[in-house]
Symmetry: D2
Subunit: 248 residues, 4 copies
């Protein structure tokens, strides 16, 4: 613990990591375009959803096995590590060839059977906080990973559910400060999901850095209005450039 | 929809069902004792956890495959249907011989891969509301089951997470009234998890019936203080007798 | 404590009181019409706002001193006691001639200077729970009244603020059961504000009675759609008749 | 709007103000000691409670009129403006000689009769967000001040009430970014009440600055463990020195 390596980048230990990419891998072309832009900008770790968990079953569920088929070649071309969400313990094998760091999403923080399965791997895991998870429960969830021998854990604060409706979630930066002061885990922040609108992403990312977070997870899309998911909160390329310049 | 049958008992359609049993199946002796007591009392459906989801990985995780081995024989002796929680899509096959109705717990309401798997079965599913699930999200989760062709769905309100700490959760009976007025789903209430203490179970169960719920799900233990989980909220036999007498 | 008398009606001690009336006193004619209807129905205590607390300063703020001028004569004609909200310590003197029971609204539960002033009176006080008041804070607020020598206190649960948006507030009936089991205070329930829509009022009122509440506080209007406040949740006369018949 | 002047210090408009002082004025000696320390440090605006709103009526309620008697002389000696909370519309006259900026506390954000009274004054008002106030309600509350002609309004985010218990409240910095982007009001942050423990005050204050707040409100005490209120969250002099150095 203390630091976790994704590809050749160290998370924790005093640096500030910027992980960025689209909410979902939507096509070869879309993913290549945003990834090459991010690489040129200096981003060292990509994110992109292959299996998506959507509240509405009629919403886009991710390209799934289709993307897994062509991602190895595209990734080799890009040359950056990829963070992607896992939503089922049976996906470990499928995702293994294309994913450098598993992400456990908000909806699965309490999915202990999935955590046990990831505990058996030796790849890093970004564990997002549940919609209404107590800090105590979040930290206990890490023990399901640790029990299996996987201590490559990065916690990710992404906003909690409150009565407020002007923002999508309420970003709890005190939780970041608390966990940094009491544990050894690297903690990153996802300001995109917290805010729910792209204009709040930069100020929240700056606040995340100021409070002591070890990095941020940012949604970027070449044309946010055309994104198949999370269109309102994705930064466009210009927004991402501004954020990268301010934070790195 | 409208009504769902578990064993020979119909849930919905104007009757009030009392489903009861221990939080967890702890041993043959414990399960037999509480089940025979409940059968004699007139309870027609049993509950009992085989796979348990616990916040702390060091807490009792259920007897799991061990219980599945001996449950068929015990169940035949008792002669009542069993509701039990499923926590992983890979458990469907294992649980099939011993479970008459799957329960999807609070922690798994958003586990859509699990819901898709249960959508393929034709057994009834009790879908508990997530800790902080909007009614809208809860209803959308049913569509993952319906999409697979399984319309044997019973919703279960079990309290939501709020700022209040004197009760374990805040039982949202208006959600029950709302769903009954807008949908065809049977809705039951779990007052045990909502209350978190046994003395509040009876008044909340009565309120559930009055608000229009189709039944309740009650935790019972021969000696609550010895229960391996949820000791504070389980009714003892005397408490269960009183509840059954008042509500049936 | 244990029971509190409003006019000649005892609240607490095993009976179930139905307090009803318009959200606001809007005119002599409106108040007389709804009051005479309620009296004929058998309702024994009226409610009606004279000073209104509205989130938007441009919303109707109540008739205020204008209503106080003509209420004594109208009240004599009607012959029923009146519950009305007090929103400022300086209103005690003004309201004294027309009010038989003060109501402290949700927005003022923490207004301790107001509570101290009401502690000096000897009239009953209905103390509503704050939007997000802990049960502990609610009970401590009563001590501001008790310290002044006024023990004529009725607590009123009216729903708490949560993430749910399909209902206006989340009615916390477990709080009612908890307080009834631990204290001597009569507790009533306001299902109108909790629900936010008139069709949920009856099922919630029935649940309130079943959980052990000592009464309900119901908003009624001759023509709800014309009400100057809370139009969506007021019962019309037919709805009120149905509720009265079921609950008394 | 846009900027508000307290004494000779401008809040808003690109500067970052540090307002500091004890939770409560406890004695001449205590207040003088902490004030002179803060003045020497470079702090330009003091805070200190004269009338305290406490959940428990047996807790210290502030020195009240006793402090008002001697504060003018002490203040002249110190030479800094004072922010202090007003808890009753009848206190305006009493506080006028000693207060340079009124603070409306969390418990009184919905106390519209108090806001109307402050709308008639021409002194600046710091309006804290209610425990569970929607941003919409908070902004509407300012209209009660504006309607009276007082536009000297500073909003103060101090944490909202959520399910989390490891922190006293959940600081909502997205609300700060939101309000700064949509309105002209200066917004400050109270990290002391949000955190509830002194070790989280500095990281949250840094995050507040980074997110775009116009200042912070900090509780300081010569000996926090001896404070009559909020002992856990007050900074000692060394902590305050560190914070001032980092943020100014």
């Amino acid at each position: 613990m203390g630091t976790v390596r994704i590809g050749s980048t160290v998370i924790g230990g005093g640096t500030f990591a910027i992980i960025a990419g689209p909410c979902a891998v939507e096509s070869q072309q879309q993913f290549l375009k945003v990834s090459m832009f991010l690489k040129e900008l200096g981003v060292q770790i990509l994110r992109g959803g292959i299996y998506k968990l959507r509240t509405d079953p009629n919403s886009f569920q991710g390209l799934r096995e289709e993307a897994i088929a062509w991602l190895p070649e595209i990734k080799q071309h890009i040359g950056l590590p990829l963070v992607s969400e896992i939503t089922d313990p049976r996906q470990v094998e499928k995702l293994d060839p294309v994913v450098d760091c598993y992400q456990v999403g908000t909806r699965n923080m309490y999915n202990y059977e999935l955590l046990k399965e990831l505990g058996k791997t030796r790849k890093p895991v970004i564990l997002k906080r549940g919609f209404s998870a107590l800090i105590k429960e979040w930290l206990l969830a890490t023990e399901y990973l640790l029990a299996g021998g996987n201590d490559q854990i990065i916690l990710c604060e992404r906003g909690i559910r409150t009565f407020e409706t002007f923002t999508r979630n309420t970003l709890d930066l005190a939780a970041v400060a608390y966990i940094k002061s009491k544990t050894q885990f690297p903690v990153i922040v996802d300001p995109s999901h917290a805010a729910g609108s792209s204009d709040l992403v930069l100020p929240l990312a700056k606040a995340a850095k100021a409070v002591g977070a070890d990095g941020v997870l940012i949604e970027v899309h070449a044309e946010p209005s055309q994104a198949l998911s999370d269109a309102d909160q994705a930064l466009n390329f210009m927004g991402m450039q501004a954020l990268f310049k301010e934070l790195s």
